[in-house]
């Protein structure tokens, strides 16, 4: 058996098999190292896949040996190879710290189940990204969603359960919308294979069911991506979830929603029709800009900083949506790069929250007083990741913003460029508010607070360093993104 040929399958199978084994391990103490191992292997596989794609182009894997369009295929192109790396990489970074970041009162046994759920969520997200079959995408979507509802509900605050319930209701409605859209597509074309759909849809674009399918899928994906005004589930869910869950989902879950949007628009429906006749750009761009402003403005007034980060995610998803809506090359590069970059920086910021919560018990703004001195490394990470959020040069945030503005200017949408820039200035306010408290406010004179333990600090630092590294050397991110764009826009 040639392992390399089976990488796409192994990408999913490794975490999928890892999850039940993790639940069955006779010694619960082994669960954590095992989960770390699984996520590391998964990450290694996605790196290998990315390399393979960059070397050979699109990789197609036939499940069960059935030929497409009858069987399920996994298709890895540059776009989802990058996303696979993001998702599995975040899992590999976050997983070792799980013990510290999910509340102190969890028992070994419940932690084992927690890890099982986390691996299932990972499987689901990887599956959404890798599959080339529309219905398979729905199944993976539900796998990841169900496990994420459960993970969020493990938060120690009683509001976690309520937040998870809300997410469940809205998330299920969103996923069902996608299901309806897929059903309509199947009804009209008789196929579920995305590439095949893309070919057959061309002649059917004038029909109502196809147009309805577009609407249903976009709305469903918007709910999953937490695109304003369908973002209502997110702030509470990320605020009350355990820190590690917020870090992982904050960095990946909304991105997967954005991926669904990109994939269906470009591979299935065809960009020129979606943005031309259907004028979806006129929906995505205004909504994106509105999200950027609404999210940032609300973030400014939050006292709970995890909630602040969640609202900032609303704003950042707005940028992604606006970037997709521009419909041109640079816009799409901006969207893809920002999906990746925002994952990095939001992951770093949520990890900082995990450190602070571990030491201070909560992530209220008042608990940050004087932390600049007490937890210098953690707060240093906050400052750097925060600067990235603002979009300062030499950080990842700048790269995405550059392409977004470039895309807007090229599309002739001047107001968009100006509004994007203005809204990103709001980030200065909500980030700097925290920095001021951390560095200038006197620390409360209670017991001494130490720096976070290495187990949490190292992942935080790692993500922060990546925020800068990918902001300086952008060959990987922008290179892969432009390759992906030429793939999606059909100009290889």
């Amino acid at each position: 058996m040639n392992l390399l040929a089976h990488l796409p399958a192994l990408q999913i199978v490794v975490p999928l098999v890892g999850a039940p084994i993790c639940a069955l391990l006779f010694n619960p103490r082994l669960a954590q190292p095992f989960a770390v191992l699984v996520s590391l292997v998964t990450f290694a596989i996605s790196i290998a896949l990315l390399n393979q794609v960059l070397a050979e182009g699109e990789v197609v894997y036939r499940m069960g040996g059935w030929e497409p369009p009858w069987g399920i295929v996994y298709v890895v192109d540059p776009l989802n190879a990058l996303l696979l790396c993001l998702v599995s990489g975040m899992a590999a970074i976050v997983m070792p710290a799980v013990r510290l970041g999910i509340g102190s009162e969890t028992t070994e046994r419940s932690r084992r189940l927690f890890l099982t759920l986390a691996l299932l969520a990972l499987t689901g997200m990887l599956g959404i990204v890798i599959t080339g079959d529309a219905f398979n995408l729905y199944v993976f979507l539900e796998i990841s969603s169900l496990s994420s509802y459960a993970l969020i509900a493990t938060g120690t605050d009683r509001r976690a359960a309520a937040a998870a319930f809300n997410y469940l209701v809205q998330g299920t409605v969103g996923a069902t919308f996608i299901l309806i859209g897929i059903g309509l597509l199947y009804m009209m074309t008789g196929t579920l294979n995305m590439a095949d759909l893309g070919e057959r849809v061309v002649d059917l674009r004038h029909t109502a069911p196809i147009q309805a399918a577009l609407a249903f899928i976009l709305v469903g994906a918007a709910v999953k991506a937490a695109l304003f005004p369908a973002h209502a589930w997110m702030p509470n869910a990320y605020t009350y979830a355990p820190s590690m869950v917020s870090a992982f989902f904050g960095a990946t879950a909304t991105k997967v929603g954005a991926y669904i949007m990109i994939r269906f628009i470009f591979t299935v429906f065809g960009a020129e029709w979606v943005f031309g006749d259907m004028m979806v750009g006129w929906v995505l761009v205004p909504l994106g800009i509105a999200a950027a402003f609404a999210g940032s403005l609300v973030a400014i007034w939050q006292t709970d900083l995890k909630r602040m980060l969640a609202y900032s995610s609303v704003a950042q998803v707005g940028y992604i949506s606006a970037a997709i809506g521009l419909g041109n090359k640079d816009g799409l590069i901006a969207a893809i790069v920002h999906v990746f970059n925002h994952g990095l920086m939001k992951g770093a910021l949520f990890m900082v929250m995990a450190c602070v919560i571990l030491r201070m018990g909560r992530a209220d703004i008042s608990s940050f007083r004087g932390l600049g001195r007490r937890m210098p490394v953690t707060m240093g990470c906050f400052v750097v990741a925060g600067l990235s959020m603002i979009g300062v040069p030499l950080t990842v945030g700048f790269v995405s913003k550059w392409y977004l503005i470039l895309g807007a200017v090229e599309a002739g949408m001047w107001p968009v460029a100006v509004l994007v820039v203005m809204s990103s200035l709001l980030a200065v306010v909500y980030i700097w508010r925290v920095v001021e408290v951390a560095y200038f406010a006197p620390p409360p004179d209670t017991a001494r607070v130490r720096e976070a333990p290495a187990l949490l600090l190292v992942p935080t630092l790692l993500l922060t360093v990546l925020c800068v590294a990918f902001g300086v050397a952008t060959d990987t991110t922008v290179g892969v993104a432009s390759y992906a764009v030429s793939f999606l826009m059909g100009e290889p």
Binding site: V13, P20, L24
Partner: protein
């Protein structure tokens, strides 16, 4: 329902047949209507009826959660294991045809049987586990 003698007796007599029917549906899956999902649910109903009538404690005694967890994970592992086995046999993931070196059709039969068995075990365990978890919590 402990005081309803008729219900108890009838249940006692029916449960084995329910389980047997489940196994029939399970095994018949690759020729006619049936398969792992349906069989699993039917199998679980057998246990659920038992629990309803004789009390949750007796059901837990017969089927501890530990066993159920084993069933849930084991079923999934069986399913995934078949896929991995076909990888090792030289096919793609879940390509049952390669499982039998002589006749692909035999391999396909074997593969689908095992996969459906895995699905059945998982579904049956999950359904029972859901019932037990809720009922036990309410009981307390």
């Amino acid at each position: 329902m402990n005081e309803h003698l008729i219900v108890r007796v009838v249940t006692k007599m029916l449960v084995p047949f329910v389980l047997l029917f489940a196994i029939y549906v399970q095994m018949h899956g690759d020729f006619g209507p049936g398969g792992g999902f349906q069989a699993g649910v039917i199998f679980a109903t057998g246990f659920i009826v038992y629990g309803l009538v004789f009390g949750i404690e007796r059901l837990i005694k017969a089927l501890p959660l530990r066993i159920l967890l084993f069933g849930i994970s084991g079923g999934l592992l069986l399913y995934a294991g078949v896929g991995i086995a076909s990888l090792f046999a030289g096919g793609t993931y879940l390509d049952y045809g390669v499982l039998d070196s002589h006749d692909p059709v035999h391999g396909q039969h074997l593969g689908i049987l095992l996969v459906e068995l895995g699905v059945g075990i998982t579904v049956a365990s999950v359904m029972t586990a859901i019932f037990i978890t809720f009922a036990e919590r309410w009981h307390r």
